[in-house]
Amino acid sequence: MGALLHPTTSLCRTCKRALPALVEAREDRSVWLSKSCPEHGAQSVRLSTDAAWYAATRAVKPVASAPRRTPRPVHFGCPFDCGACAQHGQKVRLPVVTITSACNLDCPICYVYNKNDGTWHMDVAAFRRILQHLKDDLGEVDIVNFTGGEPFLHPEFMTFLEVARDAGVHRVTICSNGLFLAKNEPLVKRLGELGARVALSFDTFDPQTDVVLQGSRLVEAKLRALDLTEKYNVDVTLIPVMTKGMNDHEVGAILRMAMERPNVRHVELHTITYTGQGGTHFDPSRSGRISMVEVLDRIAETTHGWLTREDFVSSPCAHPLCYQIAYLLLDPDGGPPVPFTRFMPREALYACLAERLYLEPSRALEDALQDAMDRLWVSDEPEAERTLKILRQLLGALFPRDRVITREEALRAAERASKAVYVHSHMDEDTFDVERLAQCCDSNCAEDGTTIPVCAYNVLYKEKEAEFMAAPRSWGERSGDVKLRRLAVLA
């Protein structure tokens, strides 16, 4: 037995019943979550390889930002009251809209439940209602993320984009495996015209690994999709799912490509989850499981230190163990990118991220940059001069002296001067921790106005929906009358 870090509520990996759980640090500094199901026995999973990092990160308090509207009563207790309920800690910052169950792949690691026969498509009217709910809740809808399935397979996909644009959504991102894009140049062109962004899954450069993780050879098609999006100025977020021993050694190469390709704005590294139609059965020993801090360390190794764990901060809009974010300034002269934390304190970067999951020009950011410039200027370190030069070029791009640019052009110039790397750690039944869930800002949005944290959605709620499951599980079956909040309080 190790040292208790904290109690929480988790789920049985087999019956998904809520279970009291303990998170403990062991002698070898690893962190484990343990629980026991009366029916399916004791279960434990390693959450981290570094207890000190885990505890220090968990101690970061997210900014309190409860949702304005909580349509569901607190009845069964977390996680069975999502919608959200009044105990939820974060409003929705990343609304996710699932518009189709159709997919043109059948990835072994897929973590959502989809069925390809008898596909379901959301109708546009439903999406309009979702937008209206979001507007009521948030005032303005900054960003919407379309997912599926493969969203491009929705026969009316373009209408969804136009509706979002007409509603004034600033950023529309579309999760895609890229296959449809690779074969459909006019579509990519249209995305560029509409200013839509693509979140492209990209796990590996190695065809063998590709077959194991995604079930077929996709590298070429994905690179083609990247070329096309570059051609038509479509911004891309790369989404590699990290699996230990499979592709974690490739993270440096993926990041390097992201830095080099001008239209790749962000990389969002996911840690593998063993849930959903693929994930539940993929790799029964679950030996590929990798924790957030391991991904951070793999990044440092494979980038030879141009990006290290100290360059990351938690997101203030979520539980600190859910997102780690690093921002990097690009060197127009070709030098290695400079993480923001090398010229501003981590607290300053953290503060600048208080409003969104991504950086936007703000007073806080301006002040932090001004401080940074002064500090760099008075510093004698050789890197300081290079960084200052980069910042000077950035200001030059924002306020060119030889021409007047519009605000949109300036925003774009600012965006293009930097890139972000996220490590986003979704949960499955094994790693499920309601403390994290209750601080989630990433929610699947439904027509009836409910918003469900994506981890809860993927692990629990999506099963409810006939559209996605051939045989939906009855809801009361698992939570029954048990007041789970009481379970979380351990004897």
């Binding site: 020009p361 007073r363 001004q370 000077r392 200001l395 924002l398 306020f399 605000r407």
Partner: protein
């Protein structure tokens, strides 16, 4: 109906775009004869020319650097020959450069001071010879921008602006006895120039601070300028007028 500047001979420096262009157009609408200078943007200058022609005004257009004394002499000389004199000089040419001290290099300083301070001195001196002789004329100095910017009031900008105020005050005093008026117009954030480039949160901050709750338009500032340089403005000199929505 005759305009408020009917037949008035006006020269605007930096008139190819932004507020400068709007000033040219407003003057032309009031019946003025208009000349303007520009440094680099030929396409913009051409555009301004076409717009002025559409208003029935055939402008004189000069390319050059306001900080070049020979250019200032040549422009004023050419206008004196063409029009027989000059009634209004608007020193509008400026530099948009936003930079903190850490990044403020000597060439930046020189460019700012040359354009925003030496330029008005050179053009004023060239124009005043004729104005004093005619015992009539008016100079309007445009304060480049207010302090709403990405990093507050860069040092070279603040220095140039303070210098321009000093120049306005001193000249007003010195040439008042010849019947020549010198004023300064310092608009707030507008829908042209910097106001179009600033990040949204900056514009929001401006709106929040302004009593009128909005940014201005070049057109309304130009209307103010029409009054300031017109004969209706008989008793104001050495003044600073700040149409800024009430900051």
């Amino acid at each position: 109906m005759t305009g408020r500047l009917e037949g008035t001979r006006c020269l605007v420096t930096g008139g190819s775009r932004g507020l400068g262009r709007e000033l040219c157009l407003a003057f032309a609408r009031e019946g003025a004869r208009v000349a303007f200078t520009f440094r680099r943007r030929e396409a913009d200058a051409e555009d301004t020319t076409l717009r002025l022609r559409a208003l029935g005004c055939e402008p004189q257009c000069f390319q050059g650097d306001v900080a070049d004394g020979a250019h200032a002499q040549a422009v004023v000389g050419a206008l004196t020959r063409a029009w027989g004199g000059l009634d209004v000089l608007v020193n509008n040419a400026g530099v948009q450069h936003v930079v903190p001290l850490a990044l403020l290099e000597e060439p930046d300083w020189d460019l700012m001071l040359n354009t925003c301070l030496k330029g008005p001195y050179l053009f004023s001196r060239a124009a005043l010879r004729g104005m004093i002789r005619a015992r009539k004329g008016t100079i309007l100095n445009v304060g480049v921008f207010s302090s709403e910017r990405i990093v507050e009031a860069p040092a070279h900008y603040a220095a140039a602006k303070a210098g321009l105020r000093g120049l306005t005050d001193a000249l007003a005093r010195e040439v008042g006895r010849h019947g020549v008026r010198v004023n300064m117009l310092s608009p707030g954030l507008l829908d042209v120039g910097l106001g179009r480039m600033l990040m949204p949160h900056r514009v929001e901050e401006y709106r929040a601070q302004a009593a009128l709750g909005r940014t201005g338009t070049a057109e309304e500032v130009a209307r103010m300028a029409v009054f300031l340089v017109s004969d209706e403005n008989t008793f104001m000199t050495g003044a600073r007028v700040t149409p800024d929505g009430g900051l």
